[in-house]
């Protein structure tokens, strides 16, 4: 499901030191990873949410799962207890089953608000073969450490 080379780039940094609020730099690339839209992902989605209304191809909601997967792979290790407090997703296009997607995770902002340490990440997911943008996500996380 992942490219060893690109995933390794994410792991090299993340495995050495846990991500803390202080380590994030606004505007910096955190990491990149490859994700394949596998039949197993679609099977699990249908198992959880049902499938009677779905046509063939990717259920649109899987976009948020792919965005979350890219985030969890690129930003690690994370402190336990982080809270996901907001999300934005923009759909541009839908990949085909078996398509490789290139995902880039950027820390776009961080700030303190009402006693919480907030980090905002943007995830761009593009088709590996053409580099065409598939979907964009913005995650707002209350960082625990």
């Amino acid at each position: 499901m992942t490219s060893g080379k690109i995933e390794q780039q994410s792991c090299d940094l993340g495995d050495v030191e846990r991500w803390t609020f202080d380590r994030f730099i606004s505007g910096s690339l955190i990491g990149s990873t490859l994700i394949e839209l596998s039949p197993e992902m679609i099977r699990l989605w249908k198992l959880i949410y049902g499938s009677e209304h779905l046509k063939d191809g990717m259920p649109r909601g899987l976009a948020q799962v792919i965005i979350m997967s890219a985030y969890t792979r690129a930003v690690k290790p994370r402190p336990p207890g982080n809270l996901h407090i907001g999300q934005y997703i923009k759909m541009h296009s839908v990949p085909k089953v078996g398509e490789q997607m290139s995902c880039e995770v950027v820390c776009v902002d961080k700030f303190k608000k009402k006693g919480m340490s907030i980090v905002i990440f943007e995830v761009d997911v593009a088709m590996m073969s053409t580099n065409a943008l598939l979907f964009t996500g913005r995650l707002t996380i209350s960082w625990a450490g």
């Binding site: 699990l44 959880i48 259920p59 799962v65 759909m91």
Partner: protein, 135 residues
């Protein structure tokens, strides 16, 4: 009921889930997110939330499900969704999603509520204006 201007349905169909540990585990496998707040009762009990919660994305998936059921694949090109997670969905909760067409006739107020009628998620689902005429 359809609206005269755009032929969009006035409401999203409701979708629901009962939050079980099995469901959370399936979603963890799907998303690759094994945060102990979702998986470990001892850890969750010691946290500020006090017990296991579902992934926010699991609840958010219900909104996409409602959208896909209601719009039947139409109008989803270029669609976007912006949400705030208002409350956790706890293990044992029953959650339901819905949506109502806004006055601009090209976006929906959307939500996921728990069994008490409290908003777990609240947000707006936007349909790209230039695709409205295509359907």
């Amino acid at each position: 009921m359809k609206t005269a201007r755009t032929n969009l349905p006035a409401n999203f169909q409701n979708c629901s889930l009962s939050i079980s540990q099995g469901l959370i585990n399936q979603f963890a496998d799907l998303a690759g997110d094994y945060n102990p707040i979702h998986m470990d009762a001892v850890f969750a009990k010691k946290s500020s939330l006090g017990k296991i919660i579902a992934h926010g994305s699991l609840s958010m998936g219900l909104i996409w499900n409602s959208a896909e059921k209601s719009l039947l694949g139409k109008w989803l090109k270029g669609a976007s969704l912006e949400v705030r997670f208002r409350l956790p969905a706890y293990l044992g909760d029953d959650i339901i999603s819905g949506g109502v067409l806004r006055s601009d006739c090209q976006s929906y107020d959307v939500w996921v509520n728990n069994q008490h009628g409290d908003h777990v998620i609240k947000g707006i689902f936007y349909i790209r204006s230039d695709v409205l005429g295509e359907n």
